[in-house]
């Protein structure tokens, strides 16, 4: 059995020996992406388990151990962990937890500390917590982010984005229900196998794989009837996690919508870019700027591959990060970086621009950055692009689903009206075309 070791500040460490003996639990967020990440960790020798639990008891456990005014994602993530530890499914003395840590000015940087407080309250203070971050916070001898590992994780996110995008564009129209999801599952397994063999994450292979993936989705039989197109943006956890947003994607699908969730790559690029913006705005080391720029370029390269592959097969590609960024140039400053920052505003403009102007802007109740970048900018967005039809929805353990769905339905009612108008206009145009064609033919025959 691994001995419990602590650092100077009293933080329980994840040791090398634990790496062999311990199971690492990961909270669920975006299922496709997180499954990819889990598989990457597995092939690096970690016994990673992605928690697939859901249900109201998770929020209840969260409420019991976390300050009730803390944001909903913290309640859920911590609730999911402690619920798992209490379930009896895992040997709690050989289980560790993994959580991301961003280090920004938002409350989210404190999740890990809230988790530790909660563990103590629940009598699990012997369970080590691993911080997953790129800022060099909290080192552990049993868990190191090496460059090859980071590259695999980045590749995992790109594949995740591609699969999510393709599925979302195909699924609402597929003739044989379930085909798109099956294809996603197939690729997740396949790509993870490649990773295990040390393949699949070199720039060239990523290009080739993305091409194959996009191509494979064109083989699914579809029936392109017009549907209401809805974009979903928001605080990253409630945006992606079904547990956090009352299964929003499924609800929208049931309402007959096509859903567009901007990918995680944009968020990664944003977080890296913030370091450059900081230096531009306030001054700082030129050397640091160069290093961060190199990382930025690497990620941009991956993004370019993703755009190229999806575009090639006729899918709507994600807008490039730089383009999305340019959309908010006179709307909000690039210094607004906490939480999802200006990117949230930019994604709403991007969605509107690409035909997904019906938007659900999701946030945990009382989310501070979203007071600014979400709700605070909706008015501005509408003045820039009046096609935007945005509804802001708050999520928290007490917010009843029926109220949320009612508000979304209001947005959808307006969206449907607009869609019908479009269809009518389209028909009228076609009719006009046909008429003129007929006329021409008539005059031609007369002649």
């Amino acid at each position: 059995m691994a001995k419990l070791e602590y650092d100077k500040t009293g933080r329980l460490l994840f040791t090398k020996q634990m790496k062999d003996e311990y199971t690492i639990l990961m909270p669920m967020m975006a299922p496709i992406h997180f499954n990819m990440l889990k598989n990457v960790f597995t092939h690096y020798g970690y016994k990673a388990v992605l928690l697939e639990t859901n249900g109201p008891e998770i929020a209840q456990v969260g409420l019991k151990y976390v300050h009730n005014d803390t944001c909903y994602p913290a309640l859920l993530v911590i609730g999911q962990f402690i619920h798992a530890l209490q379930s009896g499914k895992y040997d709690v003395h050989s289980t560790a937890l993994m959580i991301t840590q961003t280090g920004g000015g938002c409350r989210a940087s404190n999740y890990i500390h809230l988790l530790r407080k909660a563990l103590k309250k629940a009598g699990f203070e012997f369970v080590p917590v691993i911080s997953l971050n790129l800022s060099g916070l909290e080192k552990n001898s049993g868990f190191t982010l090496t460059i090859p590992l980071v590259r695999r994780l980045a590749a995992g996110l790109v594949y995740g984005d591609a699969l999510m995008l393709l599925r979302n564009q195909i699924q609402p129209y597929e003739v044989n229900k379930g085909e798109a999801q099956r294809l996603v599952d197939k690729w997740v397994t396949e790509l993870s196998k490649e990773f295990a063999n040390g393949k699949g994450y070199a720039a060239k292979t990523i290009d080739e794989n993305l091409d194959k993936i996009a191509c494979s989705f064109t083989e699914i039989k579809v029936n392109r009837i017009p549907k209401v197109k809805v974009g979903v943006v928001g605080e990253i956890y409630v945006k992606y996690a079904a547990l956090g947003n009352n299964d929003l994607e499924r609800f929208l699908a049931e309402q007959g919508c096509e859903v567009n969730l901007p990918g995680i790559m944009g968020f990664m690029l944003f977080k890296v870019d913030n370091r450059l913006e900081d230096i531009k705005l306030y001054g700082g080391s030129k050397l640091k700027f160069k290093i961060v720029e190199a990382l930025m370029n690497y990620l941009t390269g991956l993004e370019t591959s993703l755009i190229a592959a999806t575009k090639k097969y006729g899918f709507l590609p994600p807008s490039s990060y730089q383009h999305t960024k340019s959309l908010v140039k006179n709307v909000i400053g690039y210094g607004s970086k906490m939480g999802e920052g200006w990117l949230l505003t930019a994604e709403m403009l991007e969605l509107t621009e690409t035909g997904y102007g019906n938007i659900v802007c999701t946030q945990p109740f009382g989310c501070l950055p979203n007071h600014i970048n979400g709700k605070g900018m909706i008015r501005r967005i509408k003045s820039v692009d009046d096609r935007a039809n945005i509804v802001a929805i708050d999520y928290d353990p007490g917010a009843p689903r029926v109220n949320q769905e009612n508000r979304i339905k209001l947005m959808l009612a307006v969206a449907k009206e607009n869609l019908n108008k479009e269809i009518e206009e389209q028909k009228a145009k076609e009719q006009e075309k046909a008429d003129t064609k007929q006329k021409k033919q008539k005059t031609a025959t007369k002649k």
């Binding site: 019991k64 944001c71 280090g103 809230l114 306030y282 001054g283 400053g333 501070l368 600014i372």
Partner: protein, 966 residues
């Protein structure tokens, strides 16, 4: 023919239209949550009585209609959308629709860019809220409206959510304010809330139409809307039926009437709701439980003809008034539990009359009063002692369990819990204004569902599937209950579920406990709410331990007061005797103080012998006519410091600084910087209600903190003053004071200028400089800020900026040094005079009297010296915290907590603005730091709210606990 049904939270409306869209039939009925039954009745009636109805198209709308529509295969039309369709059909040319429903408020902008707004999940307080308020005043809706027409004054009542407003109204009632004025004030609050919450910067102008129940039935409410919006809105014929009519207009599917009626009446909901274990396994378990609790009783004695010594205890609570008479042997001679329908004075008079009538020869030797109405009752009837509730309850609980470790009291309006440590009150938890879902909450639900509270509670005892409703505030709970009903929960399940949620709310939200180990095993529960066996059982189950609930649970405050009076001894009570009581008279006059800018609204109570009692005041000034001693109050000093920065005429003209959020600390910096660049620096001054009103229509997020909301008003004030350039930069980072791991501002402080720029129309007519600046890098700062200013002032030079920057940094340092020096001075003086010192901690902007509501003055009125967190934070070295210590303002909190932990004469009181997400993290940490050193943590949540009653309880309890209450 078309039929539309509107199923709302409290009513069902149904409309039948003919083919020319003329109303053939309409009905409006309360459904008491028996939705499907009512709906079936209505449809049957229509089918039998309206010719051709069989072939009509049908659609359903309304917030409670979604589930029914789905399962019966009927079309569902979103209700706001339905309203729009109806208005476009019946009232073309309408610009804005304002519709209030049972629990919803909506504004529709129809012309010039269609927009629809609905209240967010946190903004309760519409129809149901007015109903609730009317029942608080003991009148029906019609009388309520009539009352409002007779008003003379309007009080400010928090317009954020119903629960807040209620806490504002209760003390007004207790202070003797007139019902008519309160009714009008409630209307004003509803209007303010609707306009501030939903308009979000868009002007409400043109043809305005009022729809929905409350606006149809209450003319005074419409008048108030007209008044605030400066318009003349119309309330059309059929104003109740627009949603239903809209649904009818959208209906295009004919249905098989018979089948739908069949389906509707058979509809039972999905049965899918989360539930808990039943409260009792069986009848036997229940009986054991009842017999165990009946043992905690007091001895009684008949008062009829009693001649001996006696003690009177009174608890003038928020919703009920309790009185007890004890013999000198602690026998209960007489007790009374009365509901407080507004003014407690006549109720107590009645109580005393009764006592004197039953026992004319009783010899009252001591009396004490506690509760919200303590002061007025004490003054009115010359009661010997006034004590704070916590002390009264502790005294009573000790009588039942001398070694009690934890006491929880759930009353009508509030929850009070405290830990007992070494025989003294140690840790106090009071519910914040947002979660006061206590006794009156259960009562309201019971009444809404058509039961008395007793009936309702007993229904829950043997519920099979108590609904899991979570632990949130009343407004959320309303909707959760609706949802559960929709899903097929029975009244029994809901009753038990509500009892559980009251308990969970108390345990997890107010006390923040995770189990009994933290609270101790010796628990006494009391308060009227625990007389409800379902609540008591839920508490024991949730805690996993049996507790003591005295049979006189609802009278414990009064019992404690009587025991307190007994403990104080004495020969004769000063309480009014039978004769004096006969002559008793009570006249109430409402006036404004006007002695300082708080301009408190005073209620002057005059009694028969000419004695006066003034209520509503924050300080002693209106009573003593002397201004309070400010020398030991650093909040006052800080405010003065800021007011000393005055405009100096300059060559570059005027520039405005809005006095909001971090400007409360940055003013010395920016004022010096800009003055030295040749600007005449104009500030928007200290906040008041008018400033808030100037900007509240442009706030985009109704759940943001009040300090942020105030900024809108300050910016508008500057614009109204004719300032053409406003300087309000974004700042991700603050100064690094070396206390934490980073030095951020919170997201709201950092980026609020962006919100101002994007949401205030008036800003587009001026120049708003809101660029990002980094004061944390003094070396880079001049060059970067020079680039920003150059865009607007091409003639500005880097040299000028450099020298101005240097002076600005110096002035900032000098400012902070002045605050610290004052802190030292106050501490020294307090030490000499042997006074207790409170570190009143918060953020720099909590110095704003409109934000702190004069709490600093109230505390200093108790003879306490006040310093602030930033005046002591430099007295400790950096230390490690269990949370990420990354915000400059918050690092000071931790440092202040660490510092006072080692000082006997110091205590910390933390001001927390409602909605501050960051404080969800800081409060727990500050508490941990204090408690690890055996200190008491006191938190005060503040908002737009002005009720200081709860704050006073907290402060007095803290003073009592540290042995300073006089």
């Amino acid at each position: 023919m078309k039929i539309g049904l509107d199923i709302g939270s409290t009513t069902i409306k149904c409309v039948v239209l003919d083919n020319n869209n003329k109303f053939i039939y309409s009905t409006y009925e309360r459904h008491y949550s028996q939705i499907t039954q009512k709906m079936g009745e209505i449809l049957k009636y229509i089918r039998l009585n309206i010719k051709g109805a069989d072939k009509a198209c049908v659609a359903i709308s309304g917030s409670a209609g979604m589930g029914v529509a789905e399962s019966c295969g009927l079309d569902f039309i979103q209700e706001v959308y339905a309203t729009r369709v109806a208005v476009n059909t019946f009232l073309p040319g309408t610009d804005v629709v304002i519709e209030l429903g049972g629990e919803d408020a909506k504004i529709l902008f129809l012309s010039g860019g269609m927009e629809v707004r609905m209240n967010g999940t946190c903004a309760g307080g519409t129809g149901a809220f007015i109903d609730q308020m009317a029942s608080l005043l003991n009148v029906d809706i019609e009388q309520f409206n009539a009352l409002a027409t007779q008003h003379e004054k309007t009080y400010t009542i928090a317009s954020r959510c119903g629960v807040f407003a209620k806490t504002d109204i209760q003390p007004l009632l207790n202070q003797g304010a007139r019902k008519s004025d309160i009714a009008q004030s409630i209307f004003a609050a509803v209007v303010n809330q609707t306009v501030a919450g939903l308009a979000q910067g868009r002007e409400i102008e043109g043809n305005v139409v009022y729809l929905g129940g409350p606006l149809t039935f209450m003319s005074q409410l419409r008048k108030q809307f007209d008044h605030i919006l400066d318009t003349k809105g119309t309330c059309p014929e059929n104003s109740l039926y627009y949603v239903a009519a809209g649904a009818a207009l959208c209906a295009d599917n004919t249905i098989d009437f018979k089948e739908v009626i069949n389906k509707v009446t058979k509809y039972t909901g999905s049965g899918n709701f989360a539930f808990n274990k039943p409260l009792f396994k069986d009848k036997k378990e229940y009986e054991e439980f009842v017999s165990r609790h009946s043992r905690a009783n007091v001895k009684g004695k008949d008062m009829n003809g009693y001649k001996g010594k006696a003690y009177i205890g009174i608890d003038a609570g928020s919703t009920t008034v309790k009185g007890v008479v004890l013999s000198e042997n602690k026998e209960m001679l007489f007790s009374k539990y009365l509901s407080n329908s507004g003014n407690p004075v006549p109720i107590i008079k009645e109580f005393l009359n009764e006592v004197y009538k039953i026992a004319p020869d009783i010899e009252i030797v001591g009396s004490a009063v506690t509760g919200y109405g303590e002061e007025i009752i004490r003054n009115a009837f010359c009661i010997d002692h006034g004590i704070v509730e916590t002390v009264a309850h502790f005294t009573a609980a000790k009588d039942f369990m001398p070694d009690v470790e934890f006491i929880i009291d759930i009353g009508g309006q509030d929850i009070k819990c405290f830990k007992i440590h070494n025989g003294a009150i140690d840790n106090i938890f009071l519910n914040e204004a947002c979660s006061s879902g206590c006794g009156s909450f259960l009562q309201t639900f019971a009444n809404a569902l058509g039961y008395s509270i007793e009936e309702f509670a007993s229904k829950g005892l043997f519920a099979q599937h108590p609904v899991d409703l979570g632990s949130r505030c009343t407004v959320f709970m309303n909707s959760s209950v609706k949802q559960a009903q929709k899903d097929g929960a029975t009244i029994e399940d809901i009753s038990a579920g509500l009892s559980l949620s009251v308990v969970k709310n108390a345990l997890y939200k107010v006390i923040r406990t995770s189990g009994p180990d933290e609270l101790g095993k010796k628990i006494v529960v009391q308060g009227g709410t625990f007389l409800n066996n379902a609540v008591l059982r839920a508490f024991e189950t949730e805690m996993g331990t049996p507790v003591v609930r005295p049979v006189i649970s609802g009278l414990m405050g009064a019992y404690g007061a009587a025991l307190y009076a007994m403990g104080k001894g004495g020969e004769k009570s000063t309480i009014l005797n039978a004769k004096q009581l006969d002559d008793f008279k009570h006249v109430i006059k409402v006036t404004n103080c006007g002695l300082c800018q708080n301009n408190c609204r005073l209620t002057v109570n005059t009694f028969a012998d000419g004695r006066k009692f003034i209520a509503g005041n924050r300080c002693e000034r209106p009573i003593t006519k002397k201004s309070p001693d400010k020398s030991l109050n650093i909040y006052d000093y800080k405010l003065q410091l800021l007011q000393s920065y005055e405009p100096k005429e300059g060559t570059r003209g005027k520039i405005g600084l809005p006095m909001g959020l971090n400007m409360y600390e940055m003013l010395p910096f920016w004022h010096t910087f800009l003055t030295n660049l040749g600007f005449e620096v104009i500030t928007s001054g200290i906040s008041d209600k008018k400033v808030y009103a100037l900007g509240n229509k442009t706030i985009p997020s109704d759940t943001i903190c009040f300090p942020a909301k105030l900024v809108h008003g300050h910016v508008q004030k500057l614009i109204d003053m004719g300032v053409e350039t406003i300087f309000y930069p974004c700042m991700s980072y603050n100064f690094d004071e070396g206390l934490g791991d980073n030095h951020y501002n919170c997201p709201v402080v950092a980026y609020y200028p962006e919100v101002i720029g994007a949401n205030m129309n008036s800003v587009s007519k001026i120049t708003l400089i809101k660029d990002y600046v980094g004061i944390h890098r003094p070396k880079d700062f001049p060059k970067k800020v020079f680039e920003i200013l150059k865009k607007h002032y091409p003639d500005i030079t880097l040299k000028e900026v450099r020298s101005a920057s240097e002076l600005a940094y110096k002035e900032y340092e000098a400012h902070i040094a002045r605050i610290r020096a004052k802190g030292d001075e106050i501490i020294k003086k307090a030490e000499e005079e042997n006074k207790p010192i409170f570190v009143l901690s918060g953020r720099p902007y909590h110095v704003d009297p409109e934000i702190n509501h004069g709490i600093d003055r109230m505390i200093s009125g108790f003879g306490v010296a006040i310093v602030s967190e930033d005046s002591v934070s430099n007295r400790v070295e950096k230390f490690s915290t269990t949370v990420l210590n990354q915000w400059t303002y918050h690092s000071r909190l931790y440092a202040a907590a660490k510092y006072i932990a080692g000082r006997k004469d110091m205590n910390l009181v933390q001001l927390v603005s409602f909605g501050c997400g960051v404080d969800a993290i800081t409060t727990d940490e500050v508490r941990d730091i204090l408690e690890s050193e055996g200190k008491i943590y006191t938190q005060i949540k503040i908002d737009e709210i002005t009720n200081l009653g709860a704050v006073k309880i907290r402060i007095r309890s803290l003073l009592a606990a540290i042995g300073e209450e006089k």
